[in-house]
């Protein structure tokens, strides 16, 4: 290594590299001027500019300069460290330098992209360069910690996303626990009769996967269960799962359903959630015959025995497996996993909120999910389209975008409603022969074979009216409208206002985040977008990753999507988890905090502040202690410590103050 020359004046030798990023940076910033300026900064032994620093030759430049100029620190003035800090750390390591002796300056997002004035943007880039050079001399060599990854995986949510992710992982030989809050897996897809655009039977493609989950030796299926608590970190999570009582021993019940027949309630009379309230169930019930696991459960709200303790318990007496256990209690179980796939799905928009469509006021108004059950051969009407009053509709209007693309409710497009509305239009027409009207804003059919499906519907004599329906009303102005629901709409293609009398209105409600999405995201320490769907790490390049390592998201919990996209994403989430597991270990960032015990006064200020539970209090020593593995390097404890005894790697006082002084010095 060449000796320290007079130029660096005893300071560590810094290499400065500024990137053009094509014209992204060079278009606004005078890159050569910044390079020349940086070359004259104290400690800088070499300053270069290059068209694409992140490219192979760019990285090679850094690696070879380290050798050639005896560089001890590197500053790269380019894009966001989120994008390429790792790239340049690796380049430094290749040249034999500790990777944490690299500092990045973001002159793209922070300067060239947000400014138009070349001169001042260039000045800003110089200021930032000066700050980084002043800071980097204080960078210490740090080591990454390696921790092993537990190969077991938790999948949360048993819809098609969770099912597919669990099966993929299990087929790769990993042990999976699938937790589902309902009594059966299957999710929304289990409600559907047919799927678009192929019109293949939803049950025929879903139920085999459901039974594969149940039968898989590598999958432990916990339905009627919810995740309560998540502790730990990537590769090493401890998860507490609440198991709700079914009042039926799951291991004994074989799903013969004789108990349901025997129940003292002769007729089903309670709200059947699975059938969207269109059917009735008894206190002892099973959601549907193909429910998985095929185990009955007892509803404590309606069961006489559980409510009053006084019932003949005919259900239990006919059970030759002795599966009933009215004393069952809720219990919690702890499991250890290394990674988590969240596939918690969506809920549909509450149609009652759009008062103008009369849902809940006019019995002839239905949500699309209700109609999914009506057209379903195993639904409450065995697939016959019958209104609540028993009539068969002669005309049906389907309103698209209810709770989607609406300033008053949800601004986003729910992506699936155009297509499922087409599917329902087809099925309603096929099952009932009714005239069907679709009221749409724009038809969105962007998937494989979707446009063709729309085209097919156009040929089937389904009517399409472009316009947002103003209201559904029972205000009749002609004899033909008497006793009908009148749909008032501006037909924006014909340029006229129409009144269309129908017997049945279907509201194509949009997709929303689950009601408890905020709670769930906090429990798993991930983010949500402003609309409440789980936030992916990068919308294009890391769509199933989250900002918490080892926690992946799949399906509609991340945003509205259809079945093909959901399944693709579930596969991707499983692959990400497998990549983590197969690596066998994770390297933890060394930007952690540490307590200088001699200076710690034991005031405990830091303990409750840590969002990751990494700070504890050592009662014997009366000092705070930080678990390096749990620490995520947020810096809250270091900032809050009144005695200054907590320091954080890469964010030491010397580093930060030098940076501030650097940016302020002229």
């Amino acid at each position: 290594m060449p000796k320290k020359d007079h130029k660096t004046n005893g300071l560590p030798r810094v290499g400065f590299y500024i990137c053009h990023c094509g014209s992204n940076i060079a278009g606004t910033i005078d890159v050569a001027a910044v390079r020349e300026y940086a070359a004259g900064l104290p400690g800088v032994a070499v300053a270069r500019d290059y068209k694409y620093m992140c490219s192979d030759p760019g990285q090679e430049l850094i690696a070879s300069d380290i050798e050639k100029y005896g560089l001890e620190r590197i500053v790269v003035s380019a894009c966001s460290p989120n994008l390429h800090e790792e790239t340049f750390r690796k380049a430094a390591a290749k040249g034999g330098l500790n990777p944490f002796r690299v500092q990045m300056v973001n002159i793209r997002e922070h300067a060239s992209w947000v400014h138009t004035d070349r001169a001042s943007a260039t000045e800003k880039a110089k200021d930032l360069a000066r700050a980084a050079v002043a800071r980097v001399v204080h960078h210490r060599a740090l080591e990454r910690k390696r921790v092993p990854v537990d190969p077991n995986v938790l999948v949360v949510g048993g819809g098609i996303a969770g099912i597919h992710a669990a099966l993929t992982l299990a087929n790769a030989g990993k042990k999976v626990t699938l937790v589902e809050k309902e009594a059966t897996i299957g999710g929304h897809m289990a409600l559907f009769d047919k799927t678009f655009p192929t019109l293949d039977c939803a049950a025929c493609i879903l139920t085999p996967k459901m039974s594969a989950v149940k039968a898989h030796p590598n999958i432990r299926l916990w339905t009627w269960s919810e995740v309560e608590k998540v502790e730990g970190y990537v590769g090493n999570y401890k998860v507490t799962v609440k198991r709700k009582p079914r009042y039926v021993n799951e291991d004994l019940c074989v799903g013969c359903m004789e108990c349901i027949d025997a129940c003292v309630y002769k007729e089903p009379k309670f709200h059947d959630k699975f059938n969207q309230g269109l059917g009735k169930r008894k206190p002892v019930y099973i959601d549907f015959p193909q429910a998985t696991p095929k185990v009955v459960l007892v509803d404590p709200e309606t069961c006489l025995q559980l409510k009053t303790g006084k019932c003949q318990k005919k259900c239990a007496s006919v059970c030759d497996r002795n599966a009933f256990d009215f004393g069952q209690k809720e219990r919690s179980e702890e499991i250890q996993v290394g990674s988590i796939v969240l596939a918690t799905g969506f809920r549909t928009y509450d149609a009652k909120k759009d008062k103008q469509y009369g849902y809940g006021r006019y019995p002839g108004v239905y949500t699309a999910l209700e109609v999914e059950r009506l057209v379903n051969a195993s639904g409450p009407t065995s697939g016959e389209i019958k209104l609540r009053d028993g009539r068969e509709p002669k005309a049906v209007g389907i309103i698209h975008c209810v709770g989607s693309r609406d300033e008053k409710s949800n601004k986003w497009c729910s992506r699936v409603c155009c297509m499922y509305s087409l599917k329902l239009a087809h099925l309603i027409k096929e099952h009932s022969g009714a005239e069907v009207y679709n009221f749409y804003i724009d038809m969105r059919a962007p998937g494989k074979a979707y446009e063709e499906f729309y085209d097919k519907l156009l040929g089937e004599g389904v009517h399409f009216v472009r316009g947002r329906v103003a209201e559904v009303t029972d205000w009749a102005v002609s004899p033909e409208e008497e006793g009908k629901l009148v749909m008032r709409v501006e037909d924006t293609l014909a340029g006229i206002v129409r009144r269309i009398p129908v017997d049945m209105v279907v509201l194509s409600t949009g997709l929303e985040p689950q009601a408890d999405a905020q709670e769930v995201r906090r429990r798993f320490n991930i983010g949500c977008g402003s609309e409440g769907f789980f936030q992916e790490r990068h919308p294009k390049l890391a769509p199933v990753n989250t900002f918490t390592d080892g926690v992946y998201i799949a399906g509609a919990c991340q945003g509205p999507r259809d079945i093909p996209d959901t399944v693709a994403q579930a596969g991707a989430a499983a692959a990400e988890a497998l990549a983590l597991i197969d690596a066998g270990h994770v390297e933890l960032e060394p930007n952690t905090s540490a307590v200088a015990e001699a200076e710690c006064s034991g005031c405990k200020t830091c303990v409750p502040l840590c969002p990751y539970g990494a700070v504890s209090f050592d009662e014997a020593k009366r000092k705070a202690a930080i678990n390096e593995v749990l620490c995520k390097g947020c810096g809250v404890c270091a900032a809050a410590c009144p005695s200054g005894s907590i320091t954080q790697n890469l964010f030491g006082d010397d580093e930060i103050f030098s940076e501030i002084e650097g940016v302020l010095a002229k």
């Binding site: 759009d354 008062k355 103008q356 009369g358 006021r361 209201e471 009303t473 029972d474 205000w475 102005v477």
Partner: protein
């Protein structure tokens, strides 16, 4: 409990019965209502399309006067209620407009300040005084009286501050608290004809007729409304409708008149006789 009162032109003119009944009801409830001093035109509709800044200044003047007092302002006319609220929002969202308007008001010795609350008496009766209190005050329940509560547009659009935009219910609840029955109908906020009754009578009268006819079809004996323009359109033009569509012969009352009756106030004090379509038959025995 004390409120300021912005009457606007209607309540001093065609809607005099509204003012009479409004003041009588609040007096009977023991609520102090003080008319805003030296108020001027609210700046409603026509001004807005001619000169926006001036119309904001005109409305702003009323708000500046109201700001001298801490009490909320009641604006019983839906148009006044809307324009005053719209002005506050408009000035809040547009600093340049606010600069102009406050400057103009300052030149007139007035100080425009934010924070004035302009409220509809329907909101005040339901949310400040409360249905329980109203129920307690009812001496002559309106039992057997079937009403169609008609809200009109401006009280819920574009700002739905205290009720639902498409299916408002506060007036129905108030009338029910007074013992009346309210028909279930879908035209609560449909158009009464607005200014079209004057400019395009063919269209305007048709719209007004639709409301009255549907109310009648649903079995209502009278229509009840919180808006003086709706009341005027629906009441005063029934004669002209007769030739074209049929005679609805439906009395159109202010909600304050019916509350007053239920509270046992005198029909004359409530301006009941001022309606063009007589309400006596519908209110027989009250």
């Amino acid at each position: 409990m004390r409120y300021q009162y912005f009457p606007g032109c209607s309540l001093k003119g065609s809607g005099r019965a509204y003012e009479e009944s409004f003041l009588a009801v609040f007096r009977a409830l023991g609520v102090e209502v003080r008319e805003l001093e030296d108020w001027n035109c609210c700046g409603a509709t026509a001004y807005m399309s001619v000169d926006e800044t001036k119309s904001y200044a005109l409305a702003g003047r009323n708000l500046a006067i109201a700001a001298r007092d801490r009490a909320d302002v009641m604006a019983p006319c839906s148009a006044c209620y809307l324009v005053l609220n719209k002005t506050m929002r408009g000035l809040g969202e547009n600093p340049e407009l606010k600069r102009k308007v406050t400057g103009a008001l300052k030149a007139g010795g007035l100080d425009y300040r934010e924070g004035v609350k302009v409220r509809h008496p329907l909101d005040v009766l339901v949310n400040d005084i409360g249905l329980d209190e109203i129920r307690k005050r009812v001496k002559k329940p309106l039992s057997g009286l079937k009403l169609a509560s008609y809200y009109g547009c401006q009280i819920v659009r574009p700002f739905a501050t205290f009720d639902d935009q498409d299916d408002p219910v506060t007036m129905d609840r108030l009338m029910q608290a007074c013992g009346a029955e309210c028909v279930d109908w879908p035209l609560k906020t449909h158009c009464c004809g607005g200014s079209l009754t004057g400019t395009l009578p063919d269209a305007g009268l048709r719209l007004a007729y639709i409301i009255l006819n549907e109310a009648k079809k649903r079995g209502a004996a009278a229509l009840v409304t919180p808006c003086p323009l709706c009341q005027f359109n629906l009441d005063a033009y029934q004669g002209q409708m007769a030739g074209k569509f049929g005679r609805p012969n439906m009395p159109v009352l202010y909600f304050t008149q019916l509350i007053g009756l239920a509270m046992g106030l005198d029909a004359d004090e409530l301006g009941i006789g001022r309606g063009i379509i007589p309400a006596q038959a519908a209110l027989a025995g009250r």
